[in-house]
């Protein structure tokens, strides 16, 4: 078994899986319609097709309302872009979803059955919500490989990690992600020495390692070159369908590349939804122009 053969085998398997997935009818994540659904305790139920549901979320910091009765719904497999001026509450919204901030009012649920407001950050991450921060937060002193290894969807308990050994399948997965994020040559390099764009990619890679069902991406292409931005758009589009994505961005060109004129864009302003619709509609909306886009 040579390295090249192993590589080819992996690729072949992935291509085959992609083919199988493509054969499924679109919509509810590749599952065929059925009258009965298997619900697992602690696992989100996407039967209704809604991945994330925020209802009347209100968060205030000492009198300042960061979020003001925000209501939002993301469908399973959807790629939603969120735009808005600074201070609109985009990052606070992500804080609420991932459990970093508790809202004063409102409900947030993941699928039909998971109440996000009762879980801690690590639990929310474990049930399938991954978040990428505005500022790339990678483990600077560890290597790229080790960064990805830590993000592996594996047993998260302390005892397990003491005796943990990478299996072949897991090693393959890491290799695959390294390929995807174009950091295979830098696998042994210290993460702190990467360029800004490479760090962003590494963080996205770590997110992918977790295999989340919902990805929250806070300004993922900030500081990237045009070429890197285009590649990122390609990556996200390839994830769409299998995963649900929420992308917060300021770069309108990137948003355009993502939405391709077909997907919904949400505009946030002063903590609540100002407008929602296709990018072209939103760009024509008077209020949005006044508040954010400018003339």
């Amino acid at each position: 078994m040579t390295p090249e053969l192993m590589e080819q085998g992996t690729r072949a398997r992935l291509d085959h899986e992609a083919l199988l997935a493509a054969r499924q009818p679109g919509g509810s994540g590749g599952r065929t319609a059925s009258f009965g659904r298997l619900l697992t305790e602690g696992r989100p139920d996407f039967g209704t097709g809604v991945a994330l549901y925020l209802d009347d979320i209100t968060v205030s910091f000492d009198g300042f309302k960061a979020l003001n009765q925000l209501s939002l719904a993301i469908n399973v497999g959807e790629l939603r872009c969120i735009i808005g001026p600074n201070g609109a509450g985009k990052t606070t919204m992500m804080d609420v979803i991932t459990g970093k901030t508790r809202p004063d009012e409102g409900t947030a649920s993941f699928g039909q059955n998971i109440d996000l407001l009762r879980l801690r950050e690590n639990e929310i991450a474990q049930i399938g919500i991954g978040r990428k921060f505005q500022k790339p937060t990678v483990y600077e002193q560890l290597t790229v490989f080790e960064n990805l290894e830590l993000a592996l969807a594996a047993d998260r308990r302390a005892r397990a990690s003491l005796f943990f050994r990478l299996s072949g399948a897991q090693l393959d997965r890491i290799a695959e992600v390294l390929q995807l994020i174009h950091l295979l040559p830098e696998a042994k390099a210290q993460a702190g020495l990467l360029s800004h764009g490479q760090k962003q990619w590494l963080e996205i890679g770590m997110l992918l390692m977790q295999d989340p069902k919902l990805l929250l991406l806070d300004e993922p292409v900030a500081g990237m070159t045009d070429e890197e931005t285009e590649r990122t758009a390609e990556l996200f589009l390839s994830l769409e369908g299998q995963h649900s994505l929420v992308v917060v961005e300021h770069d309108m060109k990137f948003v355009d590349q993502l939405t391709q004129g077909r997907k919904k864009v949400t505009v946030l302003h002063e903590g609540s939804v100002l407008a929602e619709g296709l990018l072209a509609e939103v760009q024509a909306n008077e209020k949005v122009v006044e508040v954010y886009l400018g003339r």
């Binding site: 390295p3 090249e4 192993m6 590589e7 080819q8 690729r11 991932t98 970093k100 801690r120 950050e121 690590n122 639990e123 991450a125 474990q126 991954g130 978040r131 921060f133 937060t137 990678v138 483990y139 600077e140 002193q141 560890l142 290597t143 490989f145 080790e146 290894e149 830590l150 993000a151 969807a153 998260r156 308990r157 302390a158 990690s161 003491l162 005796f163 943990f164 050994r165 990478l166 090693l171 890491i174 290799a175 390294l178 390929q179 995807l180 295979l184 040559p185 696998a187 042994k188 770590m206 977790q210 390609e234 990556l235 390839s238």
Partner: protein, 381 residues
Amino acid sequence: MMNASPSTSSVLLPQAPRLLTGKGWAAVLAAAITVALLVPLLNLVVPAGHALHLSDYAVGLIGKIMCYAICALAMDLIWGYTGILSLGHGLFFALGGYAMGMYLMRQIGRDGNYQSELPDFMVFLDWKALPWHWSFSDSFAFQMLMVLAVPGLLAFVFGFFAFRSRIKGVYFSIITQALTFAAMLLFFRNETGFGGNNGFTDFKRILGVPLAQPSTRMVLFVVTGLTLIGFFLLGRLIVTSKFGRVLQAIRDAESRVMFTGYDPLAFKLAIWVLSALMCGVAGALYVPQVGIINPGEMSAAASIEIAIWTAVGGRATLIGPIVGAFFVNGAKSWFTQAFPEFWLYFLGALFIAVTLWLPNGLVGLFTRPGGIVGLFRKSKT
């Protein structure tokens, strides 16, 4: 989107880090032989006056410093690798020391100043019987259990509440300092029943064997040395595992760790308790070699010194703290004999110099990229 790069993956992907390299194992073996064979030879067999003879004083000093090195190792695990600076680890060291001290006090038997079953200080305070917390203190096995249980339990309870409420950074450090300060005040009281400000001293025997004999001292020395090596290997086991990498991740970006699905509490608590146990064991080995334990060991100053041994040697290297402990305590021993007034100036300057110019410590000077030249380059935070 997949590039055609056939021979890349498995070749570039790093192997799982090994416990120690070949050179590393050789060094450990050499250290073990030195501790277990060479030193006893040079002290017990080679006659006094011979050029190669290792004096009893030197044996005692090195034994003491090895106990300190264990503490420095423990500090490296929680500070160097996990980013938790504790300014109160001297407390766990002292508690282990007191547990051993209690046993040694009972071993004095009737040979104390007052010829009584009770330790001298109790007779002096006019106590008639052993207080409840001295029960079973004449059993070696029980007291050794206490050496582990008392610091361990305290560390567990304190750590649980502290980490659960996400106390971090300087607040955590200050609170550990307050903890050891309060404990020191408690142990200074005579009513607490631990000898007050005199502590325990005048030990005679351990396990029935007289402490003053060179052979006993050598056994203690060898045990300490082998324990140090053992803890070093344990440390390597931890830091080369995924557990160790999670610890470093917690140090570098704790929020990311949480959002990746780990609960830092379990990891921090585990390494915190382990480091406390290590310090407790170090304290228990320290007391019979030095012959005294008093509440001064719990002072904040003593705990902060542990941090500086680790910093001087080099954080997150495991070998660095051991080097640092030897360097600083060696210097202390020399200064306090030659120029006692200057010791504190030296120590203070060392604190400042290490934080300003030697963030990677002495070991970092020789191993990190740039070597000695790196010393003159401004290092990134």
